[in-house]
Symmetry: C2
Amino acid sequence: MPSGRVYDLAVGPAPAVRSMSARSAMMADLAGLLDHRALVAPEDAPPYEQGYRYGAGCAASVVRPASIAELRAIVTYCCRNDIGFLVQGANSGLVGASTPDDSGDQLLINLTRMTGIEELDVLDRAATVLAGTRLSAVNAAAASHQLCFPIDLGADPTIGGMVATNTGGARMLRYGDVRRNLLGLEVVLADADATIVTDLAGLRKDNSGFDWKQIFVGTGGAFGIVTRARIELHHLPQRTTAALVVPRGQEAVPRIIALLETALGDGLTACEGMSRNAMRAAFDHHPSLRDPFGGRIPDYVLLVELGTSMPEAILPDLDAALAEAIGSALVGASPDIEDVLVGRPADFWAIRHSISDGIARSGQVIAFDIAVQRSKLPAFRSAALAMLASDFPQIQVCDFGHCGDGGDHFNLVWPTCDLPPEAERRPVIEALRGAIYDLVVFGFGGTYSAEHGVGPHNQEYYDRYKPEPARALSGRLQSMFDEKGLMGNVRL
Amino acid sequence: MPSGRVYDLAVGPAPAVRSMSARSAMMADLAGLLDHRALVAPEDAPPYEQGYRYGAGCAASVVRPASIAELRAIVTYCCRNDIGFLVQGANSGLVGASTPDDSGDQLLINLTRMTGIEELDVLDRAATVLAGTRLSAVNAAAASHQLCFPIDLGADPTIGGMVATNTGGARMLRYGDVRRNLLGLEVVLADADATIVTDLAGLRKDNSGFDWKQIFVGTGGAFGIVTRARIELHHLPQRTTAALVVPRGQEAVPRIIALLETALGDGLTACEGMSRNAMRAAFDHHPSLRDPFGGRIPDYVLLVELGTSMPEAILPDLDAALAEAIGSALVGASPDIEDVLVGRPADFWAIRHSISDGIARSGQVIAFDIAVQRSKLPAFRSAALAMLASDFPQIQVCDFGHCGDGGDHFNLVWPTCDLPPEAERRPVIEALRGAIYDLVVFGFGGTYSAEHGVGPHNQEYYDRYKPEPARALSGRLQSMFDEKGLMGNVRL
C-alpha cells in the first residue's frame, strides 16, 4: 500500500520511559545473557521495526534467540526488570501486532532463528515444529510425503505467528483454521521463571482436562509465547480443477455454495468471491493476466475449486464432476447461475492473487477484513453498497474474499485521480471505517476482524465492539498471564 | 455393567454439611424463586442421582429449570448462599460428572426441560439450540434438510452436556469433535449475578479477540454452565458402504488407515478397530448377529466405512470405490491386508454396537478410554497385552474403538466363571488400572481419558497424570470462574 500508510501508535501499557543509559545497561545485560548472534545491531534493526501493512516504531533493542533456552533467559530478564517486550515471527501480520511502538522502550524478540521440523510423522499425519519455522518450510518437507499444512495464505508467516493469529485463508472452507489443525502446543509464559507449558503428545482425542492450548490460539501472543507446535497435516490434493461461476444476482451466492457443498462434499476446496471492481483493478495493473470475460466483467464472480487426492479409478473425471455439481444450480425454475467459465485453475487464481496489488495501485486503499454469517453476506453487501453510494460517492468498492466462510475483504479504494490531501482524507476515512464497522457488527452480527486479529490497528475497534462481559473475561485472563502488562501491544 | 459398579465419592470441595432444617429452608426458598414444575419431589429424585456407568449419590434437592432466567435465579441463589451445585444434562456421561455426591448437600440442576431449536439455518449449515436439547432432536430436525450434527455416539446426550464433555465418537475421523463444530456459545457463570456471556453470531471466521468459548468446551462444566450453542451442521451422507478389513498383523493398521485416507479423502467416515475377544463376546451374547467369519474370528478387524453426499453422476459406484481403495493395500511386496469382507454396513455396525453389552455380560468389565498417537497404537497394544498376560493372566482383553483417531476402549473382562469375591477383586483392579494407565501415559505419551472427560471417576488419575504447570494453569482458571468452589464435582 504505497500511499497513506497509517502509523499506529502503541495502545499497550507504557513502561516508564527509559533513559539512554538504562537502555545501554539493558543491552549490556542482554549481551551477557545471550550468544552474540542473538543481538541485532541498531543499524540492522529497521526491517524488524516496520510492519507489513500497519505499524512502524522503534524498539529498545532487537534480539533473535536461536533456542527456547535463550528465549526464556530474555523473558525472565524482562519480567524481573519490568521491561516491556513484543514477540515477532515473520512480521507479516496485517494489524501491527508484531511491530514495536515508537516509545523506544520495548524489547523486540524475533523468533525466526528458532526454526526446525523436529518430527514429521507420516502415519500420524503430523509434524512438531519450532515456532520460528516458516509455513513454506513445513510445506516443502511435507510435500515429499504427499502431505501439506493446508492453511493457504498470501504471506509466508512463521508457525508461531500463525498460531497466535489463528490464520484461516483461502481454503478454510475445506481444511479449517489453525485451531482446527493444532494437535499440540508449547508456550512460555510471561513470568519471572519464564514458565514453560508443554503438551506435544499430539493426541487427536484427549479429554483428560482443560485443553489449555486453546487460550493461546488467536490471542495475538497476549497470553503467552508460542515456542513449538504439533500440527496436523493433510493429504496433498493430487488433482484440482476450477471454474468461474457467475451468480444470477448476489442473493444466489449462498444457495450456490450450499449446492456445491452437497454435490462435491469436501472436494470443494475453495469458494472465493471477486467483485467487478476488484477484478478490473487486477486486469488494469497486470496486463499479463488473461481476461476470461473478454472485457465484459460480471458484477460478481465465484472462483470455485475442486481438489482431491482420490485416484482416477475412484473419481475419474474431475472436470466432469465439477460441471455436474455446477449443473445442479443451472437448471430449475429460477436458475441461480448465469454463466460458467472453465479454464486452468492457475489462470483463475492468478486473477484472485493479483487483486490486492491491483487495487493498491489504483489509489488509497481502505482495507477491511470483515465476516458475517455466509447466508447474510448478500444482504450486508447490498446495504454497504447503498450506504457508500449515498454517503461516500467518491469511494469505489473493490471487495473480494472467502465468501464460503462468510469472509469478505471489503476493500475500498479512493481513486488516485480524486485524492485530496491527507489532512482532508483522514477524517473521511475514519468516518467511513466507523460506518462500515457499525453496519457489519450492529446491523449484521458480524466481525470487524475475520482473520487478521486485533493488534494496535484494531485496538480501538476492539474497545468499541467487543461486548461485556466477554471483554471483562478476556481482560481477567490477560491480567492473569501478564500481571505487569509487559507483553505485547494489545489490551484485551 | 450389572456387576461391580464402582461407587465414586465426591472429590470436590465439601460445603458445610447442612442440617435437615437448613435443607427445608433451601427448598422453601427455591419454591419461592421457581415455577412449581421446576421442583422435583424427593420421591422422584433417584433417577437423577444415579450415574449411567459410575457414580450414585444423594442431592439436597433436584431442580429442573425450564428457562435461562430460572437457571440464573438458581445460580444466583446458590452463589449468594454458598450452596454447592451440580449441573446435569441427560446424565449419560461415563465418568460420573453429572451425578451428585452422597453428601446430600449439592443442589442438582437438571437442564432437560430447557430445550428447543431456536434457529436452523440451512444455507449457513448451522443451528442455535438450548442446552437441554437432545442430540436426537437436533438430528431429527436437521435430517429434514438433509443435514446432521455428525457427532456419532452410543448415547443420546444433551447438546450442553456434549459441549461440556467435548464428545468425539465413532465418526470423529471425518467430522471432528464438538469443539470443531461449535460456532457459538452462551454460558452462565457461577457468580452472584449469574453473569451471562454470549456469542451466538455463529461466525466461521472471527479473530476479533480471545475466543472465550473454547474454555467451556471439554471442561465438564467446571468453568461455567452452557445454556445455548450454535453448532455447525453437515450434509447427511446419502450413500454409505462398509467393509471389514483384516490386517496382516497389528503393525499394518496405521499404514492401512493412511492408505484409505489417501484414496478416499474425507469419504472415509469411520475406521473402528475390534479385537477377537470383543467380537466373540458380541456374538456369544447376541445370537441374532450374523457372524461373517463363519466362527473363525480374526485377531483384529477394522470396520471401514465410506460415506458421501456426492451424487451418483460424480461418484458412481461406492462399493467399487471402497474396493479400489482397499486394493491398494492388498498388493505390493508386503501386503498389509490379509482379508476383506464386504456386506451390509448395518450388519457390521450391529457387531460393533453389540460389543459393549456383550462384554458386560461376560463378567466384570474394567473399562478404559485411552488414546495414543494412532501410529503408536500397535506398539501400545502389544506392550499392554504382554504385560497383562504376564501379570494378570486371569484377565481377558476385549478392546475396540476409534483406531483412526488413536482411541481404544481398551476394556478388560474378568470372566464371571473366575470372579473372586469383591474384596479380593478391588485391589487387583486398582493395580491393573494403575499399570495400564502408567503404560499409556508414561510409556506411550497417551491419555487416560480420550473422550469421556475427567469427572469424579477420573479425578485421581487427573491428579496423578496431569503435569505441572498445565495443572496449575487449569486450577487458576477454575478458581477465577468458581471462587468459592461451589460448582461441579471435579478439581482441575
